[in-house]
């Protein structure tokens, strides 16, 4: 009898939750997200044009150097926004205890793995014809590899714990420790010999102005793409969480 009553009551309470739900799904198609998506596609097409056609061929390295624009863009995203957002949201979660921050951190870590993978694979493809070897234990390469391991460990930790505040707490702690670790990793590996080309030399040399423009456009385009994918992914997680909650209300005994 009690069960029947609860059931009725929760069902009666449920519709608003689902309306909220519908708003959520509609929200995924909201204008600014669409605009962000369209903008990132256009920006990437433009960046492709600049990188492949417009930018001059590098005198020493040849055409392979054209890989560099997106390689650097991916590396920037991996080390900068992706990991930064993971760490910032980890701190925010521990502070505010709002699971939304946890969802943002997890989405950003996923994107981080993707961009780190792109960096790690395009690097050797570029290095092979230039340095004659796919891999060198150069600081930047090695740090990126360690970064990749930290991202993957973060995601593995998440997959090993059931969703909820416990998972959020544990992964936040790991995210923070990992983020603090990366600069130290970089420092420690830098005290080895460096053969990685310096991208933007301090005295302004190194890169022709046209190339620099192409590089910045590529970075901008990838950052837009990152923002778009992050928003889409976080909204998915939000929706999945709401779905879970409604379903739980419904089937609660």
């Amino acid at each position: 009898m009690a069960e029947e009553q609860t059931l009725k009551r929760t069902f009666a309470e449920a519709p608003p939750a689902v309306i909220e739900q519908r708003g959520g799904r509609g929200g995924d198609r909201s204008l600014w997200v669409d605009a962000l998506g369209a903008g990132s596609i256009l920006a990437i097409l433009f960046a492709l044009y600049l990188a492949l056609i417009w930018a001059p061929t590098e005198a020493v390295m040849g055409d392979i150097q054209r890989l560099f624009y997106f390689h650097v863009a991916a590396a920037w995203l991996a080390l900068g926004p992706s990991f930064g957002v993971v760490a910032a949201c980890s701190v925010l979660y521990l502070w505010k205890k709002d699971l939304r921050y946890d969802r943002i951190a997890s989405a950003s870590a996923e994107l981080g793995v993707m961009f780190t993978t792109i960096t790690l694979v395009t690097g050797p493809i570029w290095a092979r014809p230039i340095w004659g070897a796919y891999w060198t234990w150069d600081p930047r390469l090695t740090t990126t590899l360690v970064l990749w391991f930290i991202f993957v460990a973060y995601l593995m930790l998440r997959s090993a714990v059931d969703a909820g505040h416990k998972r959020a707490r544990l992964s936040a702690v790991f995210g923070i420790v990992g983020w603090i670790d990366v600069p130290i990793v970089f420092m420690s590996i830098r005290w080895w010999r460096t053969i990685h080309p310096t991208v933007i030399a301090s005295e302004g040399g190194g890169l022709a102005p046209d190339m620099r423009l192409a590089l910045f456009v590529a970075i901008g385009a990838f950052t837009l793409l990152y923002a778009y994918l992050l928003v889409v992914r976080v909204r998915q997680e939000d929706l999945a969480t709401r779905l879970d909650r409604v379903r739980h209300q419904l089937y609660l005994r």
Partner: protein, 237 residues
Amino acid sequence: MRVRRLWKYYGHFPALRGLDLELERGRFLTVFGPNGAGKTTLIKVLSTQIKPSEGLVEVGGHDVIDAADRVRGQIGVISHNTYLYPSLTAFENLRFYGRMYRVSDLEERSRELLERVGLRGREDDRVSEYSRGMQQRLSIARALLHEPEIMFLDEPYTGLDQHASRMLRGVLDTLHDGRRTIFMVTHNLEEGLEMCDEVAIQVAGRICYREPIDRVNREHFGDTYFDCVGGGHKWDS
């Protein structure tokens, strides 16, 4: 002890749903309830082992979140888990916990408690060599080391033999001296009704019945209980 609109979620599952409870100093309250009613969750929230999701919880006049260490200092917990280190001896276990609680005259106090739970002479044996009943008795001594004002008992009779149960009853009897607050949860009606001043029944994360013991009809308490658990007409209102 004061609990107001206490909610505890595990994921989306609410183990405690807006539970209200008050217990005066010096009273002995037994909470009954079927499995899954959230009894252990309640005791864990009260004893600062888990944090409440929502609501206000005060134990011994202190908030369990803001003043957790204050609360911890004045409560003793006896559960079906003994919290004893199996590779250490009984005496070493007491010494460890005594130091953690900053108990003064620890040696003397340990000896006295070991006497009280009938483990004198076995204090230098490792806990792993103890029987379940002896471990539980030592666990009682451990919980009493710092002379807590408030005792929490979570199914304390589980897995105890005759001797140990009797011992536990005797210890509870001496503890129940009008100054100490005792809070016990159990699903065993017989043992639960024995010494308490007040009785409550918890179903589905809420308290649905609460009476002083002298207004409880012992013979028919079983019916009351099953009415509550099975019917649940009270907890909805």
